[in-house]
């Protein structure tokens, strides 16, 4: 479903080039739960953004659902992302002036199918946010913010969820909740790629890769 062919990413900076990904090749099947682990600066985020169509690699191809992501136009890529990919970030990345329901509905009208407030509310119910529907992100706890972000990513039931250290800013109880929701999504057929430096995520994943200096060190 997702195939990376010798993907390299070099960030060119004034203080020299940074090779964040170095000829990474990877196959991820539909319905897989892949955990990406590795130390800080190993290229995990870069890998995730490349798969999500947010970051054009310097070399190599990223093929998702039979589409060569960086061979199509920017606007086609945006449409593809709207329909097929849900992002979850460590910093939650909610729009500060929108309430919970509105944040979930941010992309509801982008893409082919339209989703309405009812879809958002039922999803928020399942994520135990029914009494926080009209709160602003600043009025939510970290766990509630992350579940809101999760609802936003899942609203349109995209084939792929890309989660970049979603548990990084959470307490153990909330970590557990978030991971359980991701597993559930995966069990319903979604492909999940989870970036984390926590060892315990290995228990949830069907595969684990270890990244170091832009290389895949290990594949389990």
């Amino acid at each position: 479903m997702i195939r990376l062919e010798k993907v390299s990413k070099i960030y060119r900076t004034r203080r020299g080039d940074v090779r964040a990904l170095d000829k990474v090749s990877l196959d991820i099947k539909e319905g897989e739960f892949l955990a990406v682990r590795g130390p800080s600066g190993s290229g995990k985020t870069t890998l995730l953004f490349s798969i999500g169509g947010m970051l054009c690699p310097t070399e190599g191809n990223v093929i998702v659902s039979n589409r060569n992501l960086y061979a199509i136009s920017k606007s086609q890529r945006a449409k593809f992302r709207a329909v097929n990919i849900g992002f979850i970030f460590q910093m939650f990345q909610l729009v500060p002036y929108l309430n919970t329901v509105e944040n979930v509905l941010l992309a509801a009208r982008v893409g082919t199918k339209c989703f309405g407030p009812e879809d958002a509310k039922s999803l928020l119910n399942r994520l135990k946010l029914s009494d926080r529907m009209y709160h602003r992100p600043s009025e939510l706890s970290a766990g509630e913010r992350q579940r809101t972000a999760m609802a936003r990513a899942m609203l349109k039931r995209p084939g792929i969820i890309l989660a970049d250290e979603p548990t990084g800013n959470l307490d153990p109880e909330n970590v557990e909740k978030i991971l359980r929701h991701l597993v559930e999504y995966n069990q319903n057929g979604g492909t999940v790629i989870l970036v984390s430096h926590r060892k315990e995520v290995d228990n949830y994943a069907s595969h684990v890769i270890h990244l170091k200096d832009g290389h895949i060190q290990e594949y389990e």
């Binding site: 953004f49 947010m54 606007s75 709207a82 509905l105 992309a107 509801a108």
Partner: protein, 383 residues
Amino acid sequence: MTVFQLIFREIIKRKLNFTLSLLAVVITVSIFVSFFTTGQASKNETIRLMRDIGFNLRIIPKKTDMAEFWKTGFSDYTMPESHVYKLASFKGLSYAHLTAVLQRRVIWKDMDVILAGISPEVPSAGREKTPMFFSIKPGNVYIGFEVARRTGLKKGEETDILGSLFSIEKVLPESGSEDDIRIYAHLHDVQAILGEENRINEIKALHCLCIMKGSITDSITMLREQLLGVLPDAKVLLIRAIAIAREKQRYMAEKYFAFIIPFLVVVCMAWIGILALINVRERRREIGIMRAVGYGSGRIAALFLGKAVLIGLIAAAVGYGIGTWLALEFGPDIFRVTANMIIPEIKIFYWCLIAAPLFCALSVFIPAMIAVTQDPAVALREK
């Protein structure tokens, strides 16, 4: 979320940025509308003011010998003082200053002087105006420079003029004209000492306007005819000098307008452009989020352009209201000549409704492009 909902929510969140942008556009539109509205008054096509400007009239008795008149500066004949009130109530003409005058040459203290009686200005309908003519209290006189020099009279002294006692209220500074041998007094005092009760020999009307159709020459002929209907034993002299001066003044105002408006528009555009740029910087992360959830460039640009258009529309409506109010409230004072013609210009409203959003959109074009080309991966990495 529709683009409109997002624009609306963001405006509420960042009120200051929005208010400052709106303010700049409102001010620009207001100034433009008020200038345009007052300026337009003088350009009205169907009903025209004489040369779009004022003119001066001198009305003298019909029998006056013009050769004699131009030699002495006044008529030997007289007409009733009531003529000035008839003229004042004549609907076809508006004036800024109106007075009645009786002048005679008299020998006084072995000097050939001109005795000039001036009535207080007859108020014109509408606004209070600063008087242009001397307004002399009964029993007082102003004496010309030469008169004072020859007689040695000073301010505050009393003097006898043809049997009546007057107090000298003012010695006029040297004028270098026949005014230096004039003695000015209240009309009724002069009428009394000359034994010419209720008689005058000239009416002066300054900064006159008349509403007219067709060519200017036709209109003047028509005005003269109309005036003769009201004042059958009078003759109307038209002085064009002021018309030319007024025309120059208007031309200057137009040039000023032509300079200030583009200047104002450029400053306003830069202002809202910079505010939009600040807005784009503030919203880097938001834009990144929107990109991540699949927003295309069009939608991102629409957030900024849409907001600009909204600002333009609101500013057009508010600015039109304020500008028109300013024009109606202060225009008549500033543009006295065309005061009566200042009317709200609905045409300019439609114009603003198109131009203001267009200029606003144009101003935020660069910031919008910056927002569109911004790298979401970088924005989302920021902690």
